[in-house]
């Protein structure tokens, strides 16, 4: 499994695109939903110019592409072809990247295991009995397996950082609005972020420079031009101020290997001269319930368009064609949406009807956002493990209480940039990660800090 880890190593291959097709043959991990044809890729490669020229990249299948179907891993969109490319896909192509595959995910990005795809489950490259984590499961598995140097994913509550951690990758989610959501099939609009999985922070920074920036097609996109991440100087360890969140961590049962490695990292950083104060922003314990309410309500709204009338698939009723629009929608949704999605939609609909819980959740979210912004005025970034555990077993029960999401949720609720870096492995060789949460809008700065930590971890 020793594969090239950086863009440069991939570029050094005689034919980077062909490498993908050779190594992913048969797709034993269930990571890819569709692949471009080698012929199309060869044609695209001829005219590819720019900072990513010739690099093969995978796209989570909830991002729209013109040339490959876009399904969000749902039967209701089976065979759907978008008439446009997502802004991020457009920008990748303009930078010379080759879109080689659409990667597997939990249906409509709902789930954190990669087992809720309507088409096939995703397996962990290091252990077929484990899940790579989700919902960006296919992107994580394909990059971790060395098929691809990078893949795009989406992160609504940690869907990109969690599989990054459990697959031993770098997973970066920029500030909300820094990267256009135009072309991302919405799950929970106010929490959805596009991000990417790479083997190194430098690669993540290179992608940031290509993908970030204003887009008139997304009204929530930030209007200002971001700093270039690859041009930022790497800070020295003694110059770093990284905040710890002991209250959040103490409340959570954490895998002993993760605890040990995280403590050792803190020790190491302290001895190297970094400042690591304990911070206690209030109300972080409300992140789980707030996330559940807001994401379900927005999902119910965003998925209202999938009723089998205009695009995607339509299911007929038990006795042939349904007679009313309501019956048609009910049949289509019942037959074509998976159990996890249906569960969240039902919850979301009832929350929208009630409104009180939703108002409480929005209130809690506003507090979390304010308190995290305040905490970040004292430090450069916050430091936590990414997940409390390594990759989940594929047969493990679901995690409706969002225990696995505890460390990742706050950054989505607050719209802050966050990155997961490989931190270590447990006794079975399963990886885990550490997370840095940065200041709002300071994406390039966060990537520079991550580069410093990455270097520190490799040399330590």
């Amino acid at each position: 499994m020793s594969q090239p880890g950086t863009f440069d190593a991939f570029r050094a291959l005689p034919d980077p695109a062909a490498h993908v097709f050779e190594t992913s043959q048969g797709d034993p991990l269930g990571a890819l939903l569709t692949r471009a044809t080698p012929g199309d890729i060869a044609t695209a490669a001829l005219s590819a110019e720019g900072p990513l020229a010739g690099l093969p990249i995978g796209i989570k299948d909830n991002l729209c592409t013109r040339d490959l179907p876009t399904t969000a891993a749902s039967r209701i969109l089976e065979g759907y072809r978008s008439p446009f490319d997502a802004t991020v896909v457009e920008r990748l192509r303009a930078a010379g990247a080759l879109i080689v595959a659409k990667t597997n995910l939990d249906e409509f990005a709902m789930g954190s295991t990669g087992q809720h795809s309507a088409f096939k489950p995703t397996l962990h490259p290091l252990s077929p009995t484990h899940s790579p984590g989700g919902s960006s499961s296919g992107s994580a598995a394909a990059v971790a397996a060395g098929w691809l140097p990078a893949a795009l994913g989406s992160d609504t509550g940690g869907s990109l950082r969690q599989p990054a951690a459990t697959c031993g990758l770098v997973g970066f989610k920029p500030t909300y609005g820094r990267v256009s959501r135009h072309g991302l099939i919405a799950f929970a609009s106010s929490l959805d972020h596009i991000g990417w999985l790479t083997r190194s922070v430098a690669d993540a920074a290179l992608l940031f420079d290509v993908l970030a920036g204003p887009d008139p097609r997304d009204p929530s996109a930030l209007r200002d031009a971001p700093l270039r991440a690859s041009a930022q100087p790497t800070p020295r360890i003694p110059a770093l101020r990284l905040g710890l969140l002991p209250a959040l961590i103490e409340d959570t049962p954490i895998h002993p290997a993760i605890s040990r490695a995280f403590s050792a990292l803190i020790e190491g950083l302290r001895s190297a001269g970094a400042t690591l104060p304990d911070l206690s922003p209030a109300h972080l314990e409300l992140a789980g319930p707030a996330y559940t309410a807001i994401s379900s309500a927005e999902a119910a709204s965003n998925l209202a368009r999938y009723e089998g009338l205009r695009f995607g698939q339509r299911a007929s009723g038990p006795s042939g064609a349904p007679s009313t629009v309501e019956a048609l929608a009910t049949h289509s949704r019942s037959a074509l949406l998976g159990a996890e999605v249906q569960r969240r939609l039902l919850l979301g609909h009832s929350l929208l009807s009630g409104q009180t819980t939703l108002a409480h959740a929005q209130n809690a979210r506003a507090h979390i956002r304010k308190n995290l912004d305040e905490a970040l005025t004292h430090v450069d970034a916050l430091l936590t493990p990414t997940t409390p555990d390594t990759a989940p077993r594929r047969d493990a029960p679901d995690d409706p209480e969002h225990h696995r999401d505890r460390f990742t949720l706050p950054a989505n609720l607050a719209g802050l940039p966050a990155i997961s870096l490989p931190l270590g492995h447990d006794a079975d060789g399963l990886p885990f990660g550490l997370q840095l949460i940065g200041r709002r809008g300071h994406d390039a700065h966060l990537l520079a800090i991550a580069r410093a930590l990455e270097a520190f971890l490799t040399t330590a």
């Binding site: 759907y80 135009h182 609009s189 929530s220």
Partner: protein, 495 residues
């Protein structure tokens, strides 16, 4: 005049209105998709991926529509909200592409305000509750293909404002007057084209009836989609009568949504309203709050054109015009501008009386002749070949008695078709009336000499024969005589 058939001493109706106005923008409220300009546009031919509700698409707010909503708010004296936001209103309907409509539920762009109108010669004020922005749905076509519903989304996303009034109207005629005043203002300000048949402006009315003097409001019914002023008046009248009939029989009025059947002249049940639909409103997470800075509102306020009522008053006083004429002129901006441009051609040192006479002549020619020439091919005064300067010359000749009213009207019509300078036509065809007292005196003498019997009869008191003499003189004249001058010469000779 009143259309109410019920005893207003015994019953009171409370009427509130919801008016949808389609904003005059080229593109949709949340997408750069163009809007159909004619009814013949092929179905679903103008849509962007967002208009179809395709996955991955996001709304982009049309700032022009926001400006028009602000202008409407300014014209109606509303408070313009510095911060408003958009909400999703969920319902399942084939012509609603995303399963929700984007509207403003919680915080509308304008609040309060009023409609000023006249009813039975009295000024009235109808308070408003709010004006909000929202997108229109598409159209479902049920008849085109039997057994199928076809959906045309070309209308989906059309920018609308919904104007909601307080339930402070009490009779159908006053309601009609308020709506006419609002319609005139919206068209005048070019916020809405005002085409009722095509649904550019649509009215819903909420109505309840209670015993006069009762503080307890009656049970409310909603009348949907009244698409003409007449339907509003008739439907409200029919509905008030229906409520009273029920109340008099001691039967309950049920809260219902109803439509108006203009053939049967009665309202029909659409649905019961006991169970209010659950729209499950959600603040739209894709659209940031709509923040309006003071400079933008100020800029629109300064650009805000003269209110038609103010214009009407100004025209009436400046030119001493009768109220009905001033009102007709101020019904459209093009009309008023044409009139004002014509009056600007009059010499500046003209005495008031002469100026007023010329202006009245110009107004009469404009209203009675030129407006009659407009049709669907020439909807616009400016499409006619006549210029304001031409109108000014003809009006001057008419006011000075150089042309008869009939000749002036015919001349006006000809110039409107050909664009030829009216003075050249007048000279070439010698259209001026004869105003030479000597010539006319001779004509009068001839007529009287040739009709001795009638003259005798007139002298015995049959004064009606004056008309006969004038007619004879007109027939005999080579150039059309000025009838006023002719009449006064006859009077003089006969006295």
């Amino acid at each position: 005049m009143t259309t109410t058939t019920y005893d207003t001493r015994r019953w009171q109706a409370d009427i509130g209105l919801e008016i949808h106005c389609q904003l005059q923008t080229r593109t949709r409220l949340f997408s750069p998709g163009p809007l159909p300009t004619t009814t013949e546009t092929a179905p679903n031919s103008l849509l962007t991926p967002f208009d179809l509700g395709l996955p991955g698409t996001l709304p982009q707010l049309n700032e022009r529509a926001v400006d028009l909503a602000i202008v409407a708010g300014i014209a109606l004296g509303c408070d313009i909200a510095p911060l408003s936001h958009f909400d999703r209103k969920h319902y399942l309907y084939p012509d609603l592409p995303r399963g929700y409509q984007i509207t403003q539920q919680e915080r509308p762009i304008c609040q309060k305000g009023r409609i000023l109108f006249e009813h039975e010669g009295q000024p009235h004020t109808l308070p408003l509750q709010r004006i909000h922005l929202e997108e229109d749905a598409g159209r479902s076509l049920h008849e085109k293909l039997p057994g199928h519903t076809l959906v045309d989304l070309n209308r989906a996303g059309t920018p609308l404002i919904e104007i909601v009034t307080a339930p402070e109207l009490h009779c159908p005629l006053a309601t009609e007057a308020a709506l006419r005043a609002l319609h005139r203002l919206m068209v005048w300000l070019k916020i809405c084209d005002g085409n009722l048949q095509e649904g550019s402006m649509r009215f819903d009315a909420n109505i309840s009836v209670r015993p006069a003097g009762s503080a307890e409001p009656g049970v409310r019914c909603e009348l949907k989609n009244l698409n003409s002023f007449r339907f509003v008046r008739e439907a409200l009248t029919a509905e008030i009568d229906r409520h009273i009939a029920l109340l008099q029989k001691g039967q309950p009025v049920r809260s219902q949504t109803r439509a108006y059947d203009d053939r049967a002249r009665q309202t029909l049940l659409l649905r019961e309203r006991d169970a209010l639909p659950d729209y499950r409103f959600l603040r739209d997470p894709d659209l940031p709050p709509l923040q309006l800075d003071a400079a933008r509102i100020k800029r629109l306020r300064e650009r805000h054109p003269e209110h038609p009522d103010a214009l009407e008053r100004r025209l009436a006083t400046t030119f001493n015009l009768p109220a009905t004429i001033a009102r007709t002129l101020s019904e459209s901006r093009a009309r008023a501008t044409f009139f004002e441009n014509a009056t600007a051609e009059f010499p500046p040192d003209l005495p008031d009386q002469a100026r007023h006479a010329r202006a009245q002549a110009a107004a009469n020619l404009l209203i009675n002749t030129l407006l009659g020439l407009l049709d669907t091919d020439h909807p616009d005064l400016n499409a006619l070949a006549i210029t304001p300067a031409h109108l000014a010359s003809i009006a001057t000749l008419l006011a000075e008695g150089e042309l008869s009213a009939t000749v002036a009207a015919a001349l006006c019509e000809e110039v409107a078709r050909t664009g030829v300078d009216p003075l050249r036509i007048v000279e070439a065809r010698a259209l001026r009336q004869c105003r030479d007292p000597e010539l006319l005196g001779r004509l009068v003498d001839e007529v009287l000499r040739d009709h001795p019997d009638q003259l005798e009869a007139y002298r015995r008191g049959k004064t009606k024969l004056l008309g006969f003499f004038i007619g004879q003189a007109m027939r005999r004249a080579k150039v059309e005589p000025d009838p006023q001058l002719l009449t006064s010469i006859f009077r003089e000779r006969l006295s």
